[in-house]
Amino acid sequence: MTTLTHPPKPTTRPPVRRTKPTALSKWRRRFPLLPALIFTIVVTQLPFVATLVISTFQWNILRPDERRFTGLSNYTLVFTDERLRHAVLNTVVLTASVVVLSVLLGLGLALLLDRRFRGRGLARTLLIAPFLVMPVAAALLWKHAIYNPDYGLLNGTLNAVYRLFGAENGPTVDWISTFPMPALVIALVWQWTPFMMLILLAGLQAQPGDVLEAARVDGASALQTFRHITLPHLRQYIELGIVLGSIFVVQTFDAVFTITQGGPGSQTTNLPYEIYLTMFRKFEYGQAAAAGVIVVIGSIVIATFALRVVASLFREEASR
């Protein structure tokens, strides 16, 4: 944390008060902040301390007599566990593919929506709908209404197209069991692309108009303008989209829970779902806590980048 919080330059205040602030006036300033600060510490920080403590116990709720302190053995177990290593890999694959694909698609859509065309406002409204549909509802929609082999929209459309060309029937593909990870990725990309588009569109629209105008006057081609002006300007917005997206997508629970239940086998079990299984199916509290601590450490690594990006945008805003 300390490395990240280069404080933005405090806006210079005219010297209204000349006396040095007393302890009392300092506390008077702090007072409105305290309820929120205390609430956050109690509800978000204490559970993590508890997780840390639980992770050093052998603790299965089905065998309460055998609860004892075991030091770091849960971590050894977690690191050597085949299922868990698989879950780590799945989490990385899932997060990386969802974030990269939705940033690319979001960038494409943002570039189109940055221009004027007939019905641009309506198009933008329709495009953010996937992000607003309740995630569990969206997951069920993809699972049953789109991927279902018998009556899903995907096979149904294939069938209709095949019949159009005189074939008897289209292929019957069981999308979820044949391509479990891509099925999950596509459903999530659909959900997250609008998020990326909104951030990147805001970035495009914050481009200084005079620079673009100057480039046009100087006879720069559209591609040159994009490469040398738009892309460098967009960089921090792309970074912001990537880090915020990673933070949210790493935590994906509802889509895995709904679409694949981590299957077939453990092909799509990501860390949150694996922790859930350890906790509520195997009742191994100690192991679940240890896995939780590992997820937290992983998140801190991503968050370090995230905070740096947010801090740079924040500094820029504060210095305005």
Binding site: A36, F39, F48, A50, V133
Partner: protein, 293 residues
């Protein structure tokens, strides 16, 4: 200082961006307009399909090839209401509304102490709030589950209210700070010199600038609480379950009613769709924690 004077000074022109004048944005060629609309419709198709199927009979919903032109009906919605989706929706409404109110009650004073009368090291405090948002909820589930079980608060709507408050508080603090930071310092100081008390300053100077921000913050917090799934499904059972838990019954393929599922999905998504469309302009600022305007 009169209210009119405040209002005129407050609405000073923002830094000029290209999009302040939409006439300057270049036009898309007809070909690219076609591409843009094709992409838009492709993205919207699943939502359209969901809504359309919600108005179909069960027999027309699960056909292959899909029947687009089947007669429309409201049967699925009346069936859902008969099957008691209402308590779930009410639980969702309670959890989201109360947690949003609690978030605002905590975040607004905090944002005040981080912008208008900043405490020393206020940026450190900001980044502390932000860093809590980056910790994965799943890692907190176990201790929260154990504590909540111990004090007999499982399956209780107030448990969700408290957790959603903690979940949204960092976002709200960041958003509200970015709005309160727009209150012009000169006017605040002028009001103070004129001897205006704190209530007057809050009401006459801060409130007019902060109101749109307050609305945007509430909408974002409402959306996130309404859609939350993991705490809802693991900490409630029969009494306090919100809308996402109602949908869990549709996970298995066995005996699935597709039209009813689509009706349920449409119904539970409707409040957020409306809120999101209404707050479109502010959505990006909330999602980026106030970093992007």
């Amino acid at each position: 200082m009169s209210a009119q004077a405040t209002a005129t000074v407050v609405r000073r022109p923002r830094r000029r961006k290209r999009n302040d004048d939409p006439g300057q944005a270049p036009r898309l060629s007809p070909l690219w307009t076609f591409v843009a609309w094709l992409a838009t419709l492709a993205f919207f198709a699943p939502v359209a399909w969901m809504v359309l199927t919600a108005f179909h009979q069960e027999a027309d919903a699960a056909t292959n090839p899909p029947s687009l032109l089947a007669p429309l009906t409201l049967d699925q919605f009346s069936l859902l209401l008969e099957r008691d989706i209402t308590p779930y929706l009410l639980n969702s409404a309670m959890a989201s509304v109360f947690s949003t109110l609690l978030v605002l009650a905590l975040a607004v004073p905090a944002a005040y102490a981080l912008s208008i009368k900043p405490v020393e090291k206020w940026t450190d405090v900001m980044f502390f709030f932000l860093s809590t948002k980056f910790l994965p909820l799943i890692a907190a589930l176990l201790p929260i589950y154990m504590i909540v079980k111990d004090i007999g608060m499982l399956d209780n709507i107030w448990t969700l209210v408290l957790l959603y408050t903690a979940m949204n508080l960092p976002i709200a603090v960041w958003m509200m700070r970015s709005f309160l930071a727009e209150v012009p310092k000169e006017i605040l100081e002028a009001a103070e010199v004129d001897g205006a008390g704190l209530p007057t300053v809050l009401l006459r100077v801060v409130a007019p600038v902060a109101m749109p921000g307050l609305a945007a913050t509430s909408l974002i917090c409402f959306i996130f609480s309404w859609n939350e799934f993991m705490f809802a499904v693991n900490l409630t059972a029969t009494q306090a379950s919100p809308a996402p838990v109602f949908l869990v019954g549709f996970i298995t393929n066995e005996g699935l009613f597709l039209a009813r599922l689509c009706a349920a999905a449409t119904l539970v998504s409707l409040p957020v769709l409306i809120a999101g469309f209404a707050a479109q302009d502010k959505l990006v600022r909330g999602l980026s924690l106030g970093a992007v305007k």
